[in-house]
């Protein structure tokens, strides 16, 4: 008996991101497709960053979870195009990130190669609200952070350091 595709999506929504367990794989927007091809369940996943070490863990988690639900005939496919963007993070996912202490991405602020136009204030022109106190008086400490998808920021008001989920 083949479970409905919507049931599979519900099961996948139970899976946390291995590095940011506050949000699920479906919140992150990396599950691009779920469908049956004959008796085979095909789950299509797109990577966040090319070298993100969580990618193989995610594939393993998906396989383990679905096998635990009784799916025997399963294939995972990688899809590169269109490339993952933080625009695919669900509204619910954004809220969960904020509650977890990670400032969610600000849409439309991804780098575009117009280096000089963007670099003037060295990141100071991007107002990232502090996920703890909500103040917008914050500053970037580093363009990178504890995972490929994050940058390091600090709040000038409450003085707490925090992660910012980069717009990508």
């Amino acid at each position: 008996m083949r479970p409905a595709v919507s049931t599979i999506w519900d099961w996948l929504a139970e899976l946390p991101d291995p590095e940011i367990p506050a949000i699920s794989l479906t919140d992150l927007g990396i599950i691009r497709d779920v469908g049956w091809q004959g008796e085979t369940l095909v789950v299509t996943v797109t990577p966040t960053y090319s070298g993100c070490p969580a990618t193989s863990v995610i594939n393993l988690d998906i396989e383990t979870h679905l096998r635990g639900k009784g799916i025997e005939d399963l294939r995972l496919e990688r899809r590169l195009s269109p490339a993952w963007t933080t625009d695919w993070i669900s509204d619910q996912g954004r809220e969960k990130l904020r509650e977890y202490g990670i400032a969610p991405p600000i849409a439309g602020t991804a780098p575009d190669g117009h280096v000089m136009a963007r670099i003037g204030a060295l990141g100071g022109n991007l107002a990232v609200p502090c996920p703890r106190c909500g103040a917008t008086d914050t500053r970037r400490v580093s363009q990178f952070g504890s995972t490929p998808c994050k940058a390091s920021w600090v709040c000038n008001a409450c003085l707490e350091p925090f992660d910012y989920f980069k717009c990508h």
Binding site: G51, R78, L80, A83, L122
Partner: protein
């Protein structure tokens, strides 16, 4: 649109061949497959070797934040290398995986430019090299997004997002250190002069490049020079650094003639697979 087989798929080469025959996904019919493999190795090896050089800073960065930045850039580049080399192996059709190509080729089979294999020097020199490469990489990937080969285009689109970020970071750091103290400016100027002739290899086109350009697979690197000059010029002006007045270019890396440094990189990078063939964890 069919996608690349998963890295875990054992028979990637076979699947890629089927894909190639299915239409829509194959390169232009007149593209020379050997030249395409050569081109893909250049893409993969530049990313792999620069990624490895950056990874040497892991745990040794001058500040925690910079240590994290340089390690994350290494991770992006090595991830990109895995995609280019996986495709190179699939097009080659001899069953070689990305890992086989990374860990089991010797120096003369690597196709990276000499710039990326040079020792890191001080952190300013590492940043300068990264910026000179990022500025090229960005414009090259932007051209590759329009490739006639959909497999090339989709990897380029993925990598471009990451490299746009790398460029922004390295440009900002070059400006901060160039237009910094007397000490930092002196070091950045010396790094620029030291690396300039190596950076120019990026634009030295050969038959492989022309073959790729004619097939619409990749832009001719020589034609990216104008865009690169524009980006580099604007950043160096802001950084108060003087661009060397020389067009001499060290060449040969793209064809497999390397400096002595690459051998030492491979000795470290490939040690485990050489000592324990097929080891996995």
């Amino acid at each position: 649109m069919p996608s690349l087989p998963d890295i875990m798929t054992p028979n990637a080469a076979e699947l890629a061949k089927q894909d190639g025959g299915a239409g829509g996904h194959a390169p232009a019919p007149d593209a020379d497959q050997d030249a395409l493999v050569e081109f893909l190795l250049r893409m993969g090896d530049n990313a792999l070797i620069l990624g490895h050089r950056n990874s040497e800073w892991c745990g040794h960065g001058p500040q925690l934040e910079e240590d994290i930045a340089v390690s994350n850039i290494a991770l992006d580049l090595i991830g990109q290398a895995a995609m280019w080399l996986e495709l190179a192996g699939a097009v080659e059709g001899q069953g070689r995986s990305a890992d086989d190509l990374a860990y089991l080729r010797d120096v003369w089979d690597f196709r990276n430019v000499k710039l990326v294999e040079r020792p890191n020097g001080d952190f300013g020199a590492t940043l300068m090299r990264q910026f000179l490469f990022d500025a090229f990489h960005f414009h090259q990937l932007r051209g590759l997004v329009a490739s006639s080969d959909a497999r090339v285009s989709e990897i380029a689109a993925k990598a471009l997002k990451e490299v746009s970020y790398h460029l922004e970071r390295s440009a900002g750091q070059v400006i901060a250190l160039g237009d910094g103290t007397g000490e930092s400016r002196g070091r950045m100027q010396a790094a620029l002069e030291d690396q300039w002739s190596y950076a120019l290899e990026l634009f030295a086109s050969d038959g492989t490049d022309r073959n790729m350009a004619e097939a619409g697979i990749a832009p001719d690197p020589a034609e990216l020079r104008g865009l690169w000059d524009e980006t580099v010029g604007a950043v160096m002006a802001e950084a108060t650094l003087e661009i060397p007045d020389s067009d001499f270019a060290h060449q040969g890396g793209k064809q497999g003639t390397h400096t002595e440094h690459l051998g030492y990189i491979l000795a470290e990078m490939q040690f485990l697979q050489r000592a324990y063939p097929g080891a996995e964890w």
